[in-house]
């Protein structure tokens, strides 16, 4: 059973979050020159192990990652195609717990490897504040396994809303339905996406703080924002294909639908754009270039998902390609032409393919 869970849930997790790992890898290893890389990571490890606050910060990051894993597993277990996992509930409690601990260890492998490096650093340098994070990590794995055990064995217990927001009736034009879907059915996905996006955005600006006000730095930060939204866009299109496919039999033009998506993406990226405008001391030119690049990027991701019929494996390969080609264009200073080119490709693809795509194949 473990093999099956790792091959299904485990591998899918890594496949679906390749964008996140890519950006994280770039932040950790791609931005520092070779000979400084080891020194930088050693200093980082020592600073984490020697300070209680730093140890708590790394634990907070691990907590977010664990939350992402737990919600991913919960979402998968609720899908019809993962109903076979209900077989796990026929095992006794101890076996089930061990199984889920192993699954979470697999999902949290990057964190566990880093925790291993922290232990080695603690032993070598005799700093023990890092133990806070290590103990916390063990508790997080135990929590994740217990939660999944409870969620899969006690499905008959009614769920209660911990927070009951006042019911405000907002008008819902058709183009905003995907946004309501995020707010009402994918709150955690949205929160994690925005948090990761803003964290990466700030991290890039922080790493290149010594460069000065260079538009390429802001665009690199926005590239991480676009990549952080890769899975969110994927989920939005899945939602569109599954629940809004009826609208394709209605007399709505492709261009009207495209305007809707563009407006939706603009709303999604508003926090990042507001931050960009503020951090650049209200530089309108950088904001406009940034908006053009980010919105074109998101539209391109959308076209990619349509074109690839939501095949995640191919999507991630193209994401990797998009990352490298975007970085090259930004660093070479061709960001405006590049933005226009990807916008033209995305718009042309959408308009030409709108009536030639069967949404059923994407759903």
């Amino acid at each position: 059973m473990l093999k099956l869970l790792l091959r299904t849930i485990g591998l899918t997790f890594y496949q679906q979050h390749v964008g996140l790992f890519l950006v994280a890898a770039y932040l950790l290893f791609g931005m520092i020159q070779g000979y400084q890389l080891v020194e930088f990571h050693l200093s980082l490890l020592i600073s984490i192990c020697s300070s209680a606050i730093n140890s708590l910060v790394i634990l907070a990051i691990w907590l977010l990652y664990t939350l992402k894993c737990v919600l991913f597993v919960k979402h998968k277990l609720n899908l019809a195609e993962y109903q076979f996992t209900m077989m796990v509930t026929t095992l006794n409690k101890s076996k089930q717990m061990k199984l889920w601990v192993k699954v979470y260890c697999f999902l949290m492998l990057p964190v566990i490897i880093y925790a291993g490096l922290m232990i080695a650093t603690m032993v070598k340098h005799q700093y023990y504040f890092g133990l806070i994070a290590i103990v916390g990590l063990l508790m997080l794995i135990a929590f994740a396994a217990s939660y999944t055990f409870y969620a899969s064995n006690y499905t008959f217990k009614p769920t209660r809303n911990l927070i009951n927001l006042p019911g405000i009736k907002l008008p819902k034009p058709f183009w905003t339905w995907p946004l309501f879907y995020l707010f009402q059915q994918q709150v955690v996905l949205l929160l994690v996406c925005k948090l990761v996006s803003i964290l990466f955005f700030k991290a890039i600006l922080w790493v290149f703080a010594d460069v000065g006000p260079d538009i390429r730095v802001y665009l690199t930060a926005l590239l991480t924002v676009v990549l952080s939204h890769a899975m969110l866009i994927y989920h939005l299109l899945k939602f569109d294909a599954h629940y809004q496919s009826f609208a394709k039999s209605l007399p709505i033009t492709a261009i009207k639908r495209l305007y809707g998506w563009l407006a939706l993406f603009l709303l999604l990226l508003l926090p990042e754009f507001a931050m960009l405008f503020w951090l650049t001391h209200f530089n309108l030119a950088i904001l406009l270039y940034g908006m053009l690049f980010s919105l074109s990027g998101l539209l391109l991701l959308q076209s990619l998902i349509y074109g690839l019929k939501a095949d995640t494996e191919s999507y991630f390969k193209y994401l990797l390609f998009f990352f490298f080609i975007s970085m090259t264009a930004i660093l070479a200073g061709y960001y405006f032409l590049f933005s226009l080119a990807i916008l033209a490709i995305a718009v042309a693809f959408y308009l030409l393919k709108f009536n030639k795509i069967d949404l059923k194949e994407i759903a």
């Binding site: 819902k172 058709f174 339905w177 309501f180 879907y181 009402q184 059915q185 939602f239 599954h242 629940y243 809004q244 496919s245 009826f246 394709k248 039999s249 209605l250 007399p251 709505i252 033009t253 009536n355 030639k356 795509i357 069967d358 949404l359 059923k360």
Partner: protein, 221 residues
């Protein structure tokens, strides 16, 4: 008895499908030279997997296909928006976003189909859906969802209404009302293409022709 729907003047229907070829992977579902419909009520029979829904999805512009689909000289592939303004389609198992209310969905249809509010009020009242319109679709039973989908199909002055398995999940009283509604709308000049596993009472509905899909071909019964 009230006549529901807009009383717009409708043209005589002329739906033509030519050289249709549709396959999923290597499996050919439909392959025929010509299929023609004029004004009237048509019933498409056939077992599971024979291609009824695929045919409906082709005519509704929901799926890709090789060939030509033309409605009163409007070609689907050349002018899809104009074509879709003339037809409406109710799926066998409709899916709508779970968080919207029935009223929000109907308002959307009203806007797109340029329909009158009283038309929707009459339809929802006929199918006894009015008390549930402010509930979220996610809380609807399968029968209520089906009725909502049928109501959507009748909104506006379309020329051809395609109903895929309209009788499944709805109660017999609603089924009778639906049959009566189809008859009334047919008198106004609208055409219908229905599929149903259940036998349709020909005394309740004046079926012009019964078709069946056999080995990728549409044949008259």
């Amino acid at each position: 008895m009230k006549i529901y729907g807009q009383k717009a003047k409708l043209n005589l229907l002329n739906l033509t499908l030519k050289n249709i070829h549709k396959q999923y992977g290597l499996h050919t579902v439909l392959q025929f030279d010509e299929f023609h419909l004029t004004t009237g009520i048509y019933w498409l029979k056939g077992g599971n997997g024979t291609g009824k829904s695929t045919l409906f999805r082709i005519i509704s512009g929901l799926t890709t296909f090789d060939g030509i689909v033309k409605l009163n000289n409007i070609e689907l592939k050349k002018d899809p928006v104009q074509f879709r303004s003339k037809i409406s389609y109710s799926e066998a198992e409709p899916q709508y976003p779970l968080f919207i209310t029935g009223r929000e969905l109907l308002n959307f249809y009203q806007e797109v189909r340029d329909a009158k509010p009283n038309e929707i009020a009459e339809l929802t009242s006929l199918f006894e859906m009015t008390p549930f319109l402010d509930q979220k679709v996610g809380g609807y039973s399968s029968g209520m969802l089906k009725k909502l989908s049928l109501i959507c199909a009748f909104i506006g002055s379309v020329e051809l209404i395609i109903l895929d398995e309209p009788l499944i999940t709805i109660d017999s009283a609603s089924a009778d009302k639906l049959m009566h509604l189809i008859s009334e709308q047919a008198k106004m000049g609208k055409s219908f293409l229905l599929s149903s596993h259940q036998e349709i009472d020909k005394e309740k509905l004046a079926i012009a022709t019964v078709f069946e899909i056999i080995n990728t071909q549409i044949v008259k019964c």
